[in-house]
């Protein structure tokens, strides 16, 4: 098992030499960034295939699955340390997102997607 070290931020203040800060690659807010990504490009890339602002899901038979890249990694906002539990929750939230898109579309048919 390999555990990487955390990389200290560059020194911006003399106190950073003794007490460094550590940058966060995610948004620190509980804002769904693991589902939608932490950049506009990531968010857009997850929403290209389906209409009405839906997240991309691949249909295999009657079931929907998270899309995969060429190496088989799931395409979602945050896909490190993947296991069955992550697959389950990320799929659930993507399905819920798309269900809300459908509900909004039905309630406000005049709105654009």
């Amino acid at each position: 098992m390999e555990v990487f070290r955390t990389k200290p931020d560059k020194v911006r203040d003399p106190s950073d030499i003794k007490c460094p800060g550590y940058n966060n690659e995610n948004t620190a807010w509980w804002d769904g960034s693991q589902i939608y990504g932490s950049s506009e490009e990531a968010t857009q890339a997850l929403r290209t295939k389906l209409p009405d602002g839906k997240l991309t899901l691949d249909e295999i038979g009657a079931a929907s699955f998270l899309p995969r890249d060429k190496d088989g990694n799931p395409l979602t906002g945050f896909n490190s340390n993947w296991w069955l539990g992550m697959e389950m929750l990320h799929t659930l939230f993507a399905l819920e997102h798309n269900a809300i898109c459908d509900a909004l579309k039905a309630a406000y048919p005049e709105m654009t997607g």
């Binding site: 769904g32 968010t43 539990g85």
Partner: protein, 218 residues
């Protein structure tokens, strides 16, 4: 097997003290991480004192004290819904004051409404993918790429030496808490695998530290 250090340290934290993930603490961290500096002028480098960086107002302090008294008799989760919600809100204020500290020496890193103007009015009500503009006064608060906030003041969190980093050794911790005793499986009685998945899912919403050797740039 590659393991993100953040997941590993969080799972150890959970093992050592599950109450660290209890709702009051979580509510505070999630909603206002890196957010404590209410006034840049107050942030003097008084490294010898433990100064709360965020000061609740007088009515807020009264509320914190009142709920503290009430909680000696009734915990927040046994109060009627709305009152319980207010109780949580005041617990959050207290935690923000004493348990949430900026990762930067000054509040400048969080930006201000002049240096980082709102690019589009839609972000008044919609999510910005980078996590900006949740605070209009400090638009960069908690956004992607900023330093993660701390639960202790910076001057109390010096970079560990190599010796400190390995004391206690992670393997010792693992052996103490995870090893089977007398060859027998120790069942978890308070939580199941779904809780583990849910907590990891939340952590992935929250932070992922830049790593040495990681290719992901910020």
């Amino acid at each position: 097997m590659l393991l993100k250090q953040d997941d590993l340290s969080i799972s150890i934290l959970i093992l050592l003290n599950f109450s660290a993930m209890a709702p009051p603490n979580a509510a505070s961290n999630g909603a206002s991480n890196g957010a404590h500096v209410s006034n840049g002028a107050k942030q003097e480098p008084a490294h010898d004192k433990l100064l709360p960086a965020f000061q609740p107002s007088l009515p807020e302090r009264v509320g914190i004290g009142a709920f503290k008294l009430l909680n000696k008799v009734v915990p927040w989760y046994k109060l009627p819904g709305l009152i319980g919600a207010f109780n949580l809100a005041f617990l959050r204020l207290e935690l923000r004051q004493f348990n949430l500290h900026d990762g930067y020496a000054s509040a400048e890193a969080q930006g201000n409404s002049e240096s980082i103007p709102l690019p589009d009015d839609r972000y008044l009500g919609a999510r910005h993918s980078d996590g900006k503009f949740n605070s209009l006064e400090m638009p960069l608060m908690g956004c992607k790429g900023l330093r993660f906030g701390r639960n202790f003041p910076r001057h109390m969190c010096p970079k560990p030496t190599e010796e400190e980093l390995w004391t206690p050794n992670p393997r010792l911790i693992s052996d103490k808490f995870m090893a089977r005793r007398d060859g027998k499986f120790i069942p978890a009685t308070t939580l199941n695998l779904l809780a583990a998945a849910w907590i990891q899912f939340q952590i992935h919403d929250w932070f992922n530290h830049v790593q040495v050797g990681s290719t992901a740039g910020v």
